[in-house]
């Protein structure tokens, strides 16, 4: 078996559909069809739509943290690592698979479904705050910079950049927003001719 049993295919199909259509817009039937599984199979492996969505959301959140850490834990100065993170290849027009869930009322209303979304952004802001604090400590960034607030700004630029890109049906505003925040950050960079 090549690790693609029905349970696995159901989770992956749910991840795709949650990203494309959100929780409210995704029906069990659509999931089953994409996964090539029947009703009986789905309800054997999962108690229902919320249970399956939870498995899908947890996996997506974990994947997102892993990808972000690739840039945060990489080489370079704080600004270099944040630039690498912001300019990383992304499916901009599809948006953020975790962030889009915040617009799903049924996800936000269910504490179990909401938890992984909350935790992802808490972690992301915290980790970015660490990178920025490191930059300040090393003298790469001005001491006037507030690491926690700036971390929230950087995450917000990404999430908001997706919104602008989808509204425009173009990646251009996303890239502009990223350029803008990096331009602002550059003014806080200290010239450390080490």
């Amino acid at each position: 078996m090549i690790t693609s049993d029905a349970s696995e295919r159901l989770i992956e199909s749910t991840r795709e559909l949650l990203w494309e259509r959100g929780y409210v817009g995704t029906s069990p039937k659509a999931i089953q069809q994409r996964a090539g599984a029947g009703q009986g199979s789905m309800y054997h492996h999962f108690s229902g739509k919320p249970d399956l969505a939870l498995a899908a959301i947890r996996r997506t959140a974990e994947e997102m943290r892993g990808k972000a850490e690739e840039q945060f834990g990489g080489p370079g100065t704080a600004v270099e690592r944040i630039t690498a993170y912001l300019r990383r290849e992304r499916d901009v027009l599809k948006g953020c698979p975790v962030g889009r869930l915040t617009q799903d009322p049924d996800v936000m209303a269910d504490p179990a479904l909401r938890a992984p979304v909350d935790e992802t952004f808490v972690w992301l802001r915290g980790r970015l705050g660490e990178v920025l604090a490191e930059g300040v400590a090393r003298g790469e960034l001005s001491a006037a910079l507030d690491p926690a607030a700036t971390a929230a700004t950087v995450v917000a630029v990404l999430q908001g950049g997706y919104v602008l890109a989808r509204a425009a049906d173009s990646t251009a505003p996303f890239e502009q927003a990223v350029d803008g925040v990096l331009g602002l950050l550059a003014a806080h960079a200290q010239s450390t001719a080490s």
Copy 2:
């Protein structure tokens, strides 16, 4: 008559439900119930759900532009007006009624419904760009600042701030993101002891 006929109540109910639950999550039945109108009434005034949604979205977009212009066209320096805009009283946890529509696949798939969303953000970025360019021209802001890119960043911080606030079920990350971008912008401010 106090300008609250059935047509009017249907549009206002749709505006509320689109904000709370999105297009996919809003049924004609729910709209009718909130408006206190029957099926016949709704289908007499509007050809269907998309037609009613279009009227609702257009009104919401227009209202959003009007509110933004209150701050952009107000007194003060560029940074003061942008600060007023970002710190304006908002229902942060409800998010942006226009921005949330970008996550609605059925809205983005319909050119008529999508147009007012697109136009709103084009206008918003353009208008903010003008304010920033004015700040540069007046010597309030560094000439190194890119008005168009920074405008996209400011709009993205707002839209992303809503995402972070909803994920956390708290306005705190929104306020942090706003503080962060204003802190970065302050570094670009020129000391003009006029």
